[in-house]
């Protein structure tokens, strides 16, 4: 096999969201599949421009919620009817109307957990160390600057073309990101 490129990516820096979105679009049109874009806030359409698929988080959350509800109700039914049945104020052992609140809370709780961790894991976080952190100016990615990275591992990556592509998007600067 060929030795891997010592660089992780080529990176271009922009000062406006519009520029970044345009560049991302261009990269995608040029066939790049592993381009990454960084912005200080959520930019509508940027992820789509990079070709992100529709998120599956909502589906996970729904499942989590259903599981939570079932677990919650089963817990109450099992404790009150099976494990240690006791006469409480002459109410039936299985007094379902009174099991509703806890069931509801458990539904919300597990759904919330799923949504939260699905987002985190989906983003591969926590990941404290990443090549881009060593890139010049990257601390501005959380302030007011916008970045586009073309990854060297991308099968479509070809040095001269990539350089040309990035320059064509009029970045305020371009750097190489080491692995």
């Amino acid at each position: 096999m060929v030795a891997r490129d010592p660089r992780w990516a080529l990176m271009a820096e922009y000062d406006s969201a519009e520029a970044l979105v345009a560049a991302a679009q261009a990269a995608r049109d040029a066939g790049y599949r592993q381009a990454e874009a960084y912005a200080p806030y959520a930019i509508d359409g940027l992820a789509e421009a990079l070709g992100a698929r529709r998120s599956r988080i909502p589906a996970f959350t729904l499942v989590g919620g259903i599981v939570g509800g079932l677990v919650g109700y089963f817990l109450q039914w099992y404790a009150a009817v099976v494990s240690y049945p006791e006469e409480i104020g002459a109410r039936p052992l299985h007094s379902w109307p009174m099991f509703v609140p806890v069931t509801f809370e458990m539904t919300i709780l597990l759904a919330a957990f799923t949504a939260f961790f699905a987002a985190l894991l989906g983003n591969g976080l926590p990941r404290l160390a990443h090549p881009v952190f060593d890139a010049p100016d990257f601390d501005l990615a959380t302030r007011n600057r916008f970045f586009l990275c073309l990854l060297t591992d991308d099968p479509a990556f070809d040095e001269p073309e990539a350089v040309a592509l990035l320059d064509s998007t009029a970045p305020i600067r371009r750097d190489e990101v080491a692995r």
Partner: protein, 473 residues
């Protein structure tokens, strides 16, 4: 420097850029502009917190008998405080979640500290049910777990519902809060200049780097949490209301309670938001972010919820007589004329009478007046909780067992202590974390810019006079 073109719609004064917004809010934490007022408040509230912890220790040693509670009034201040704090703990999530779903721009600059307030208030609330137990060291018996006694919680008790509701609410609010703060923590990491802060914020930021797909998932999850938190907000205080509504005591046993408690919760919650926001924006020069518009909107919510609460009072009294239940009637008459009547009328004054000034725009934009009013509403809402808890039980079915609850000094210490600890936690929060969501403010900046006026150039030019250069500083 109020801009000449300030209009109703403005939730961010013009002239702010990404960098300046970032610098301003991050600066509040990193280069703490206001030292002395903060330090004074911090020390004062810290002292109150220590007193509070001391009082708790004494309570655990001696027992709840140090309070004024008795038979028939088994619940006194502790539960009144609990309900009051839970109520206050509602505004935050309501603002963040509901207003987010409703796409209310004005939530942006107040949601972060409102959520923090929610967490701390709910925390204060969560303490009281444990403190008020006769044997607090067995509080964990309210949680279901397999034990060698083969015993479980009694699921029909609203107190168990409480445990689940409050716990869920605390956890979900915390997740929501943290998820929203993640990008800002990254900002802090990158703005921090000392190694220690970089590491601390770096760890908390979990390596957030603002990648486009991350933002997308982040937004989805954030919206989902908002969607889940919205019914949660309604459920939590409904469950708390059921602590009373499920009981049979005249004054407890009322179907209006859940909606009326939720409304009351928002009422007191927004009052507390104002109580906090007004000094905050003044102390930290945030008038540009928290504008009169925010206050105005909050005031309108106050007015609306205030009327729902008033309706609640009306229905309570009406139903007492309409039902023809002699016990309800006697209890209601006692409310009007009995030992606790002064509290009742003062409560009505605070919660129904005073808020009516908010019909006037001038009043809604007068920060001092709003501040005072918000405090009165907090007071009034506390008195409402107290009336429900103490007066109802003091005057129930058996005249031969009627008795009064007279608070001891310990009752007052626990009320004051919880307020002090709440304030202390909040001060710690604005000391260590960005009190306003930076990333969302950037979006706001973007949206402001995309609007035809003011022209983009102008903005960057104006931004210079803010000292917040958009170039590499």
């Amino acid at each position: 420097m109020p801009s000449p073109r300030t209009t109703d719609g403005e939730v961010l004064r013009p002239g702010w850029g990404y960098a300046s917004v970032t610098a301003k809010i991050a600066g509040l934490v990193l280069s703490r502009p206001v030292r002395w007022p903060w330090l004074a408040a911090f020390l004062a509230t810290l002292a109150m917190t220590l007193v509070y912890l001391g009082a708790m220790t004494w309570l655990f040693i001696k027992g709840v008998g140090i309070w004024g509670i008795n038979i028939p009034v088994g619940w006194g201040f502790a539960i009144a405080n609990f309900v009051w704090w839970v109520g206050i703990g509602h505004a935050g999530t309501f603002i963040s979640a509901v207003l987010l779903l409703l796409r209310q721009k004005w939530r942006t600059s107040i949601n972060r500290f409102a959520e923090a307030m929610t967490l701390f208030a709910a925390g204060m609330a969560g303490l009281f049910p444990i403190l008020h137990l006769g044997r607090p060291w067995f509080a964990y018996w309210l949680a279901p777990y397999p034990d060698h006694m083969n015993l479980w919680p009694q699921w029909r008790s609203p107190l168990v519902w409480d445990v689940f509701a409050i716990a869920t609410y605390l956890i979900v609010s915390a997740l929501f809060w943290y998820l929203g703060m993640l990008p800002d923590l990254a900002t802090m990491r990158d703005r921090a200049r000392t190694r220690g802060k970089q590491v601390a914020y770096g760890l908390l930021a979990l390596g957030w780097r603002g990648e486009a797909r991350h933002w997308a998932r982040h937004e989805t999850a954030y919206l989902l949490l908002a969607g889940l938190a919205t019914p949660l907000v309604v459920s939590v205080h409904s469950v708390v209301a059921m602590d009373f509504a499920v009981g049979n005591t005249p004054g407890f046993h009322s179907t209006i309670f859940p909606p009326y408690f939720v409304a009351g919760a928002l009422f007191s919650g927004f009052a507390m938001v104002l109580t906090i926001a007004i000094p905050l924006r003044r102390a930290f020069q945030l008038q540009d972010f928290i504008t009169e518009v925010h206050l105005d909107h909050a005031a309108k919510v106050l007015l609306a919820t205030g009327w729902i609460v008033a309706y609640g009072y009306l229905v309570e009294n009406f139903m007492a007589f309409f039902s023809g239940d002699r016990f309800e009637i006697a209890m209601t008459v006692d409310r009007w004329t009995g030992f606790y009547a002064p509290v009742y009328w003062a409560m009505l004054a605070c919660n129904v009478l005073l808020p009516q000034v908010l019909w006037w725009r001038a009043a809604r934009r007068n920060t001092l007046l709003l501040f005072v009013l918000s405090i009165f509403i907090n007071l009034g809402m506390w008195m409402e909780r107290f009336m429900i808890v103490a007066q109802s039980t003091s005057h129930d079915f058996m005249p031969s067992s009627w008795g009064l609850f007279i608070p001891t000094r310990w009752d007052w210490i626990f009320l004051a202590g919880s307020i002090g600890m709440f304030a202390w936690l909040f001060l710690v929060f604005i000391w260590l974390l960005p009190a306003i969501s930076i990333s969302e403010m950037r979006e706001l900046v973007k949206e402001e810019r995309d609007e035809p006026r003011p022209p983009a150039r102008g903005s960057s030019h104006r931004s210079v006079q803010h000292g917040g250069s958009d170039g590499r500083a």
